[in-house]
């Protein structure tokens, strides 16, 4: 167990150091960008996994509340979910927490989320405060099975804002700067019903 913790600490340190090095340079090299993209995609995958758990009726209230809290840790404060549809003009906006609570309330018997293996990741562009911002686009097939066997299926395009932010962390008594990835506003475009 101790060995595992040690290995994990070393890996975390290497990642932190690598991201810290990136902080020194305004231009993100393609290699650095790939490392950041992969970290951001990890968070997006976590989000997808959590959404499946929250939407599933088999998940207890306590568990879904815990998962909602975990999900919120992936996001910047104040992030919103924008929902648009082929059938109407405009975007509806929900705070992420409210969106997740609405998802829980839908009360499907079973939720199945499949990913089309298509992620489109924009360049990371620096904003005035020094943070970098990018957008990851994915397609997701959502299938919700109701108690009476009725299925709701849609394929949605999700445009997910990703912030790469400089943070500080104490490691071995030293304050180390590193860049963390957090999710921001998400726009969900309803593509089609399956």
């Amino acid at each position: 167990m101790n060995r595992l913790i040690k290995t994990f600490s070393i890996l975390t340190f290497l990642l932190v150091a690598a991201l810290y090095a990136q902080a020194q340079s305004v231009n993100i090299t393609p290699e650095r960008k790939r490392a950041i993209d992969s970290l951001a995609l990890e968070k997006v995958r976590d989000l997808s996994k959590y959404i499946s758990i929250i939407g599933d009726k088999a998940t207890s209230m306590t568990e879904s509340q815990r998962v909602i809290e975990r999900t919120m840790e992936l996001f910047m404060e104040g992030a919103q979910m924008g929902v648009s549809s082929l059938n109407r003009k405009g975007v509806r906006y929900y705070p992420v927490q409210k969106y997740l609570e609405r998802l829980r309330a839908l009360n499907y018997q079973r939720v199945n989320i499949e990913w089309y293996n298509i992620q489109y990741i924009s360049d990371l562009v620096q904003q005035p405060d020094g943070r970098f911002v990018g957008v990851i686009t994915i397609y997701q097939r959502f299938e919700g099975v109701m108690e009476d066997g009725m299925r709701y299926v849609d394929v949605t395009k999700k445009d997910i804002t990703v912030y790469v932010e400089r943070k500080q962390q104490q490691i071995g008594g030293r304050l180390i700067g590193f860049w963390d990835v957090l999710l921001g506003d998400i726009k969900v475009t309803e593509t089609k019903r399956g």
């Binding site: 305004v26 393609p30 082929l86 003009k89 405009g90 975007v91 509806r92 906006y93 499949e114 990913w115 089309y116 293996n117 298509i118 992620q119 489109y120 990741i121 924009s122 360049d123 562009v125 620096q126 904003q127 005035p128 405060d129 020094g130 970098f132 957008v135 686009t137 397609y139 097939r141 394929v155 395009k157 445009d159 475009t189 593509t191 089609k192």
Partner: protein
Amino acid sequence: MITRFALICLIGLIFAGSNSLYAQKIAVGDITDLYAATKQLSQFIKRFNNEEDRQGVAYDPKSKLYREPEQRKQYLKLLFDEQSIAIPQSLRTSFIADVTRNEHPVFLDFFAGEWFAEVKVAVSYNGKEEEAVLFMELEKAGQGYKWVIDRVYFRPYAPYIRHTTKNPNNFLHPQSHELGFMNLNRVFESPATAEDYTSKDYHPPEHLDIFMYDLRRGVIKFITVNDTRFHFFQIKGWYFEVANFNRPGLNSGWLINNLVQLPPEQKNVMLNYIYRENR
């Protein structure tokens, strides 16, 4: 018709090799659609320049494939809205030939200016829903960039903003002060000509000025964004508009839906049209 069929076959060929393991679970047609879609404006620019592979992975700028002209020509053909009748085939061909010419190929640059966004937003104005058109530009700021509101067009204001020449017959005579400016009633009784009585240095406010004022007064409240499109003037001698098409099939996402050959001296005419300044 033949051209369209050829185009669809071409897209199919380009993206057929892109299927992942997931493709075995879902219809191949679906995944092809999603690969074919130009998913972000960033991707539109990268495809326009041929800076990424078929899976959307960016080429290393040192790679031979980066901005390779033959593949670029194929991508450029896919970036037009196939349902738009506004762009004749001959114009597209001429545009593609112009931007890919061997000696001086032309590329789009996200940071180079000469392009902007037009965003239609629904707002509540005096309790009634209205559409405002916001023109957004990228501006350098601090350590990076930000989108800023450069102009606004708001139809309710249009009848009240005069950009015409002042009528020289309307003035307050130079002895008005001796009458305690009692003749000011002429100004206030005919608001439509009130600007005739202002200083030569006075310029009517822009819609943006009044919009910001009304926003602060609480008369305007944001409802939602209805539509976003982009206007590009970066390619010398051309103007094109890029809009989003959320539809099934291989021709979807961010696509060129308007293309005009534009001599530099006519640029302002086009800008005035986009800004609705002639209406």
